[in-house]
C-alpha cells in the first residue's frame, strides 16, 4: 500500500506474571511502545484458562524495526523460554507514521 512502510510486528503470548518485566525489557531493548491484551489459551504448559491469578496470560505486540525485533526475540528466547509458558512470533506489516517505530 502506498501510504504504509515496512515494519516488524513481534507478538509474545505468555504468563501475566511477566507483564511488568517484559514491558521494561522491550522498552530498554529499543521498542518505542507496546500493546497488551488479556488472553487465555492452551499450549505445551497445558490449559491456561485465565480464571485466576496463576492462570492468566497476556498477548503483547510490539511494532519495531528488524534489528529491534531480532534483539527482543533473542532476549526473550534466552531469558524466558526455558521456565515460562511462552510463544513468540513475528509478522511483516506496513505502518503509518514509520518514524514512530524506527531507530
Amino acid at each position: 500500500m502506498p501510504n504504509t512502510h515496512p515494519c516488524k510486528l513481534v507478538v509474545l503470548i505468555t504468563e501475566r506474571a511477566l507483564e511488568e518485566k517484559l514491558s521494561r525489557d522491550v522498552m530498554r531493548l529499543g521498542a518505542h511502545g507496546y500493546t497488551v491484551a488479556d488472553v487465555r489459551g492452551r499450549g505445551s504448559h497445558g490449559d491456561r484458562s485465565g480464571t485466576w491469578d496463576a492462570d492468566r496470560s497476556i498477548r503483547m505486540e510490539i511494532l519495531c524495526d528488524v534489528s529491534t525485533a531480532v534483539t527482543i526475540t533473542t532476549h526473550v528466547e534466552a531469558t524466558y523460554f526455558r521456565h515460562y509458558a511462552m510463544v513468540a512470533f513475528v509478522a511483516d506489516v506496513g505502518v503509518l507514521r514509520p518514524e514512530k517505530f524506527a531507530g
Partner: protein, 312 residues
Amino acid sequence: MDAIALFFVLGFLARLARSDLKLPAQLYEALSIYLLLAIGLKGGMELARQDPLAVLPQASAVIVLGILIPLIAFPILYKLGRFDRFNAAAIAGHYGSVSVVTFAVAVDYLIARDIPYEAYLPLFLVLLEMPGIAVGVLLARLGGNMREVRWGSLLHEIFLGKSMVLLAGGLLIGWAAGPDGLKPLQPFFFDLFKGALCLFLLEMGLVAAGQAGALRSSGLFLAGFALGMPVVSALLGIVLGAAIGLSAGGTLLLATLAASASYIAAPAAMRIAVPEANPGLSITAALVITFPFNLLLGIPLYHRLVSLIHGG
C-alpha cells in the same frame, strides 16, 4: 456441613462434571481484594482496642514459626521426596506462608460455635504471609550463586505484592480509624464478608477441580506431603499458641494459619523469584489437596487437638 464449605464443593463438582460455570476473572480479583481489605480492617480495628506493644513478644514468636515451617518442609521434599532444589524450596515456601481464605473459614468456624479468640489474630496472618516465602527463595538459591538473588526485587515483590498491601493497608487503616471510624463501613466490609467468602469458595472449588488433573502427574509423595505437612505445622502452631498464652480459639487460629499453604501471594512471588520451579506442583499441593483438607477435615481436627490441651 457448613454452608461455606458447600460452596467449595459445589464449584468442585460443577467443574468435575464439566459444567460451563465460570466466575468472571475480574469478579475473582474483586472478591480477593475485598476479602484481604476486610480482614485487614477487622484486625486493625481490634488492634486499636489494645496496647500494640503488648503483642510484640507474641508477634516475634509467630514470625519464628513462619521461618521454621519451610525449614522443616524443605528437607522432607528434597531428601525424601527427591524433588530438585528449586521445586522443594518453592513448595516449602508455599507452606511457610498462609492462606487467607482458610483463616477466614476458621474464624467463621469459631464464630458459629461461639468460641472466643484474640481479636488481633489477623495481625499474625499479616506477619506470617512473608517470612515463609523469603525462606523458600533463600533455600532455592543456597549452594547456587547467592548473588543471583535479586534481593531488591524480591523484597519488593514480598512487601509490595498486592495481598500484602491490602492486608497491611487494611490493618493500618483499621487501626487508625478505630471501631468508631469504621462503623459506617460495617455494612460493606463486615456484614457482607461471609457471603463474599462463599462466592470466592465457589470459584476456588472450580479452580481446584480444574487443577485436579495435575494430581496424577505430580505423584503420590506430593499428595502425602500435602496431607501430612499441615498436621505437623498445626501441631507446631498449637504448641506455640499454648506457649505464648493464647486462648483455645486463638490457638486454633494459629494452628490453622500454620497448617495452611499460600496459593495467592506465594505463587506470584515464586514465579518471579524461582522461575525454575514448576508452579503446577506447588499449586496442586497447596490448593487441590491442602486447602480442601484444612477446610473439611483439618480445622475440626485441630480443634480436637487444641481441646486436649485447653480442655473443653
